[in-house]
């Protein structure tokens, strides 16, 4: 039987925490940028302007058709060249920048679908009432529709955030040391891959399970 030896984990804690900081940085950036950019995409997709709606739909469908691994690799190809073109040589580690851009733009496509459904769940009478009261269409969207839409969407947005948190582990493909990447490297270094991988799985599980419970609790309270 395999004999477990967990002794390399305590010593690796500082490294693992540093990795977790990167995981959280990528996750939070993608959530913030994703929701802002995703809202714009959703509004564009529902707009009367055919061209705008078409472009937004194209963006969302393209990102949703391609595996996240490919998206990460794409941006790892494009971002360094773009940065070089703008800032010249001598940029530091571009892996983190590439990952941040990739996740933000990728998540925006997924968030925009949730937000679009949220906007469509607001009764049409609300828009009509807003316009009748003399609000411009932009004001109606901002002051009347979006606040109600976001209230309905909170559970779905949080669930998507949990999925995103798990997906950030894929930065492994460009060699960025997030939490999982660090765990893998430590395990590989100490010949304790089994323990480190199981530990990483347990950590992800505890975080995601806890957050999903909290979301469920919220959902029950909101729907009352």
């Amino acid at each position: 039987m395999y004999e477990f030896d967990w002794s390399s984990i305590p010593g690796a804690m500082p490294l693992l925490l540093k990795g977790m900081a990167i995981t959280l940085e990528v996750t939070l950036t993608a959530i913030l940028v994703g929701i802002v950019w995703g809202t714009l995409l959703a509004v564009a997709r529902l707009s009367q302007n055919r061209l705008l709606a078409f472009l937004a739909a194209g963006y969302v469908n393209l990102f949703r058709a391609v595996p996240l691994v490919m998206v990460i690799l794409w941006f790892y190809l494009i971002v360094p060249q773009a940065l070089k073109a703008v800032f010249g040589q001598g940029i530091g580690d571009i892996r983190l920048t590439s990952a941040l851009v990739a996740f933000a733009l990728f998540e925006a496509a997924y968030y925009s679908e949730i937000i679009r459904a949220g906007i469509q769940s607001v009764p049409k009478g609300q828009v009509a009432a807003g316009l009748a009261l003399g609000f411009t269409p932009g004001q109606t969207m901002r002051v009347i529709v979006l606040p109600q839409a976001f209230r309905n969407m909170i559970p779905l947005l949080l669930t998507q955030a949990i999925i995103l948190f798990q997906d950030t582990s894929l930065v492994y493909v460009i060699g960025l040391s997030d939490f999982f990447g660090t765990a893998y490297k430590v395990g590989d270094r100490d010949g304790r891959l089994v323990e480190l991988l199981l530990f990483a799985g347990a950590v992800y599980f505890s975080i995601c399970f806890t957050v999903s419970r909290v979301v469920k609790h919220f959902q029950a309270r909101f729907s009352q």
Partner: protein, 245 residues
């Protein structure tokens, strides 16, 4: 940025001497499709069982099924894949573990990836199956029982035939996901599409052509699957339910 486009790179003989770089792409496509479709069979079978168990009136069985879903949904796919590939062979009895490690590397990679992707997607399929069963009016089950069916017969003849028809649209999106998720197998070295994209970059130094070709192939898979599933959806939709008229 001066970039030399060269689409003819795909027609050049590959570095290994076997076929052209285009044949590398097709090889990748073949593995992506084989992996995804095999995993989908596992996902449907296991997902149906787990989904049904979540709805049965037995605390232990439904508890076990819930635990399955929570575990597989709350651990990243990549971590699961590495656990199947690196950890499982170590934890098996020594003989079995060694036998596994002596298999052809491609067999090992494929086995781990199919198992991982299948059981991961099964948790999602299970949630859809459960939602489908629970969306049926309670009267259906009670009517079945009142007519003298056993619980198993009620599931077999009353609940499942309806539930499966209702959940075709959400299953479509899981089916699309399995093709996209199969790209994760690149991390353990399986030569599926996204692996071939990286290999082409290394061998041809024409990254954009390689990435565009692979991206288009993924889009093509997506469009084909969506088209086929739409046709299926139209055939099986139940009037009065989601997706039905």
């Amino acid at each position: 940025m001066a970039y030399n486009w060269n689409w003819q790179v795909f027609l050049q003989p590959s570095a290994t001497g076997e076929g052209t770089y285009l044949s590398w792409l097709l090889e990748g496509l073949k593995w992506t499709l084989t992996l995804s479709l095999s995993a989908w069979i596992i996902a449907l079978a296991v997902g149906s069982i787990v989904g049904v168990l979540r709805t049965v009136p037995n605390r232990i069985l439904s508890g076990l099924a819930t635990a399955y879903v929570e575990v597989f949904r709350n651990i990243p796919l990549l971590v699961q894949l590495f656990i199947w590939y690196f950890v499982l062979p170590e934890l098996l009895p020594v003989d079995m573990g060694n036998a596994f490690k002596q298999l052809h590397p491609l067999t090992q990679q494929f086995f781990a990836a199919v198992l991982c992707l299948g059981l991961f997607t099964a948790a999602r399929v299970a949630e859809q199956v459960r939602a489908g069963i629970q969306s049926l009016p309670k009267g259906q089950k009670n009517a079945g029982l009142a007519l003298g069916f056993t619980l198993a017969q009620v599931y077999r003849h009353v609940l499942l035939p309806m539930a499966y028809r209702i959940i075709v649209p959400p299953l479509t999106s899981e089916f699309l996901n399995i093709f996209k998720n199969s790209a994760v197998a690149t991390t353990i070295g399986l030569i599926e599409l996204s692996r071939q994209a990286q290999q082409l970059v290394d061998f041809t130094a024409q990254p954009y052509e390689a990435f565009i070709a692979v991206t288009l192939l993924y889009v093509a898979i997506n469009v084909t699957v969506m088209f086929l599933m739409r046709a299926l959806e139209r055939r099986v939709q139940v009037p009065g339910f989601i997706g039905g008229k």
